[in-house]
Symmetry: C3
Subunit: 392 residues, 3 copies
Amino acid sequence: MASSTLSAPVMQKDIHGWNPCARISSNDRVNSHRTFNCSLSTNTVRKPLFFRAHPASICPRHVSASQRYWLDTKKFPVSCASKFQLDDVIESQQFDTDILNGIFEVAFEMERIEKNSPGSNILKGYLMATLFYEPSTRTRLSFESAMKRLGGEVLTTENAREFSSAAKGETLEDTIRTVEGYSDIIILRHFEGGAAKRAASTATIPVINAGDGPGQHPTQALLDVYTIKREIGRLDGISLGLVGDLANGRTVRSLAYLIAKYKKVKIYFVAPDVVKMKDDIKDYLTSMGVEWEESSDLLEVASKCDVVYQTRIQKERFGERIDLYEAARGKYIVDKKVLDVLPKHAVIMHPLPRLDEITVDVDGDPRAAYFRQAKNGLYIRMALLKLLLLGW
Amino acid sequence: MASSTLSAPVMQKDIHGWNPCARISSNDRVNSHRTFNCSLSTNTVRKPLFFRAHPASICPRHVSASQRYWLDTKKFPVSCASKFQLDDVIESQQFDTDILNGIFEVAFEMERIEKNSPGSNILKGYLMATLFYEPSTRTRLSFESAMKRLGGEVLTTENAREFSSAAKGETLEDTIRTVEGYSDIIILRHFEGGAAKRAASTATIPVINAGDGPGQHPTQALLDVYTIKREIGRLDGISLGLVGDLANGRTVRSLAYLIAKYKKVKIYFVAPDVVKMKDDIKDYLTSMGVEWEESSDLLEVASKCDVVYQTRIQKERFGERIDLYEAARGKYIVDKKVLDVLPKHAVIMHPLPRLDEITVDVDGDPRAAYFRQAKNGLYIRMALLKLLLLGW
Amino acid sequence: MASSTLSAPVMQKDIHGWNPCARISSNDRVNSHRTFNCSLSTNTVRKPLFFRAHPASICPRHVSASQRYWLDTKKFPVSCASKFQLDDVIESQQFDTDILNGIFEVAFEMERIEKNSPGSNILKGYLMATLFYEPSTRTRLSFESAMKRLGGEVLTTENAREFSSAAKGETLEDTIRTVEGYSDIIILRHFEGGAAKRAASTATIPVINAGDGPGQHPTQALLDVYTIKREIGRLDGISLGLVGDLANGRTVRSLAYLIAKYKKVKIYFVAPDVVKMKDDIKDYLTSMGVEWEESSDLLEVASKCDVVYQTRIQKERFGERIDLYEAARGKYIVDKKVLDVLPKHAVIMHPLPRLDEITVDVDGDPRAAYFRQAKNGLYIRMALLKLLLLGW
């Protein structure tokens, strides 16, 4: 997530996968896409983006009317239906609060599907390809569960490096063009930043970024914000303590970025000196009018927060300086003492996996929300698959 | 399978996944589970076990009345329905002859489903996670085939070591809590003895042990006993020759343990000196009133047996003593000469894979039951999936 | 593909998986299979081949009448239905033009299924095992997509070397007998030539060869010929330029072999000196009355061809002679200059993956057919799965 991108989120809007007023005028749509297409045409030759699989409109696979009235009971609010069209999910910057709220509404519906029925069939006949260039079993299982809970089918590869013939030298673009012939949507995990954007520019079917190297992991960011909304009941006016490795943690950076779009947010950074939050996010928060401060007193912060978001100190970032890692690691632990001062309505979150930065005796407290948070990843991914394949 | 466990199978009954009279009184059930829960509460914080997915009663996913009357034709005998409730399948010790016979009845029904229809849908809408910490493709494919033959869906991982972030240090318990959010049942293969029991104590959904290190592989034990029942027609009064690596063979040890629960069983051990059956099993058999003897004359044993159960000498157990391995390996071969003396009604079994301890010219004889035995693994696993997810 | 086999394709006919007049007389069928069976009986003991799963006749899994009238709209021409019965797909030599045309008709129908419906269910209840002894993700995904597009289910293994217990020494035959118990059709990828034929001789269910070492990859050959038919509209009278690594390229050799069965075919070979087409194929073409010539002028060949079939120079074939590889690699590139001389109706094909032997600025030209060719692999595999499991 480059700082230049951070400072210009609005400019990205038309580019990343959705465009306003998609259904109001097909002409507008063609035009907005044409602009995008031209900007890429120097190094890629491809079908114009307005040919991509637009669910419920020009998707080459038939969508029945009854599928569009999904669940047969609930049509989505006109506000959503007339405003957005999700094509791809590439980076957090593509979402504003309107689209976030729209996705969260669908995710909430998904909880109902998953819990109350023997399985939905709204994605029956659709095939998802999980094209993973590096293994990430947690993320993969979550996406595959989401697809199957909705009646869809899955093609899996975890060794896409071999597939793409790294040895043989095939480009990502060529791989995408082959895989899009076998499936209806691609979930891409890649080791290079920007890979998802390249894939989405090539593909004529929707692409979801499931993490591209040091770059983005937008579905994790969405599930984090959704969890706060579900647990606390609101996003405006939230107080948020970000704890642990704030320098390298992709999730806390994305969370800070997204939460800043809401009103009257207050953020506390609690990090060991070697892994403090970087200036780009701080500057961005200031520019968005978000109040933030740094603290070294976890207990005091916990007593004032709606959400304590703990993260793992990532050993792999310290290289041979195991001493620095060990020092950073033990500094801020969420334990019973933190629970004692934490407000009754507040929650503890963690992107998982955790080591000992949250002690296991915290797990039984109702405010320990991290496994519910992991489960919310399922609902968010169900919602995105539904939105990309069937529309609102 | 520690000898201490072997000598106290009754004590294990209430603990491992089923409890008598489950449906007669919900109070009883709560109490029996509460006892278990307390005994574990020192090091784990979890929902009480009576919240786990009890098929057809408090399973969070809806089970229709028609699903419970599975196959629309056959209700299970009251004797089963009122007596047992399978929650998990962790170790052979949890089964007595009543529950074994109940499972075998369901497995026999499964043969009918698999052979006579274009596929059953009784598990439609259910998701099984095969969480394998070490690859075991034969076992995995068998479970996945079982689930799909019943209309269910599967999430697969063979590199769960990476998933559980061995490198990152996540505990098995944390992994289980994440995966249970994505699925309805977990099939666990692990490299550590006792892992399945830990997983089942954590999970709020059913867990089946698909082999945990040097520990248990209960579905293999079940399919072996089922095969004898199917091939010979009875289990009481059976004569059984166990041949090959009896010291290290997990399957022959489990088979001896389970078959001892039946009446008037006679067992012959035929093993090279370096891999003789250990005393714990011999003592257990004696305590159960099972007649056993050791022999070095395979032909004589074969002439008196209903079942000759051959096993592979496991090279990996001999370390650098290849000479000992080679000597043990060639000692007892099942070949045409064994077939010549084997009674007409008897069968040859083998857990597979086999090397040359059964010669290929035996394969064509109707008494060669080892590939039918492998197939029975499918039926047993279909039965267990049905029982754990839908109840009797 | 040994030259001896090449020179006697007719002799192979009765052996490889199909036989003429299969439904006219069951006696004939028994006889033709019996011959085959006897020839193998020295070292294998197996059910006679006429017991194998013959779709729509003696397949053990029920096929409804409505499934046989697939798509509920179109019965296949009597000419096909009365002439062939596909049992296995093992090598290109098993196909003559009649059966090729029959397969192509079904593949063309499959395009309609894949594009116009929310998914077919004609293979619902069928399980396909992709038994891959070496990873080939492109081929695997294509087969799995084909199966799922038709409503079937898939068991996947990419590490079948472990499964077959290379370490433990299990034979391919034993593995096949286990896997056939869990599935209805096996897709085999193996590192040894002839493995598919051995598997088919063992299995009582259909086997498709998805590449066996230096041997055959018949579905690739079929999709190549099908692509020419779809793109150019005919196969008789075609002019074909084969470019690149003609010595090692399995695909160009198979294509030359199959295309020779059509009338008035003309083939141009354009290859660097070190990787020229070998004499066995040249002799075969001559014997079949196919006109062929070698050329070093790609532009001149392109100006006269209906199809330019480019291939990758395979670095791995050159060992340490990187200098030879580099020289060969840059020699014949398909670029804009080739497009300039290529006839309007002609197409560029490539088996993929490609490196730079076709420049990316060619991709946007409508005559660049290689991604459509990859997609045709899906249709061919859908057709074969349908034919092997349900019959014509």
